[in-house]
Homo-oligomer: 166 residues x 2
Amino acid sequence: MKNSPDSPTKHAETPSTSKQASRQRLQDDPCSVARALSDVGDWWSLLIVRQAMYGTRRYVDFQQQLGIAKNILGDRLSRLVENEVLKKVDVGEHGQRFEYRLTPKGKDLFTVLVALRQWGDRWNRRDDEAPLRMVDRRLGQPLQNIQVLDAEGQPVGINDVLSLPR
Amino acid sequence: MKNSPDSPTKHAETPSTSKQASRQRLQDDPCSVARALSDVGDWWSLLIVRQAMYGTRRYVDFQQQLGIAKNILGDRLSRLVENEVLKKVDVGEHGQRFEYRLTPKGKDLFTVLVALRQWGDRWNRRDDEAPLRMVDRRLGQPLQNIQVLDAEGQPVGINDVLSLPR
DNA sequence: GCAATCTGGTTTCATTTAGAAACCTTAGTC
DNA sequence: GACTAAGGTTTCTAAATGAAACCAGATTGC
């Protein structure tokens, strides 16, 4: 309850300079992890990409399958298009029809999503759920666990790497 | 679920039932990707984990290195502890000293972070930046690109897998 | 012994964002 | 020409974020 005797001003002398959101600040971060997160680092974006990988392409389908508010979905889709993770394709024949399809950049998130899924399966498994559901088309068998490998193909963990400071 | 077309009230007859945030709803999602995101799916959590992998352990260091507001940092750290990604260790000898260290679950996010970093390096590269900085300790050479492999070790892409619906 | 300092927070308040529902627009369909 | 569907935008409220102020326990400095 002590009020310091000097500063009478409440706070915030410079309310500007904050640009916009974390996204903006991450966008120019020197670390590529931060920049990756500025593309897909919020609650919904990766879920939209996951859904796209399952084959979802249309606005209404994303909306219903994810249970996301329409305005937020619109915002996320346009940001993903802007960041070239999705592309918006006009397939209008009868009625207004657009499809949001994964770009190569978006498809390349496959690795990230599989890594995240496997991590979730390892550590947040739920007993009422089968642990794996993704199988490859050729063999019909579960995928291998994703690993980080060194130049010779040996698996490495967090303690085996040096992050050379720039 | 659907509101019958008569109700003339503006909106929100039941302002409750929304629990809290997306986190809460994702927590019980049947998809492990969603549950993984409920642990580390916001703007800051993965950056905190990344920083922890670089060796950061103390509150003030996280705060300064990430430029995160202290209240947000406190919230994220306690949530990460709650989700068993970090553990809070009292190392108090002189003064108040705590360390936030990665748990095995947290260390296992290494794969996800490397996947994300490599994706960022591939698609959001900045010209003023060396493309890779992580080398393994044993060979001193860059790591391999992370791949998704089938049971026989062949790389598979998004179009080569079937996601068996549960 | 007492003020200054360091660490690790919590509180307060203004700004942003998310979310729900209503509304709008274009284009078929009946 | 009314109705429906897709694909949004607008409006409004609730919640999260962020900056700075404040606080408390222990330690050093004197």
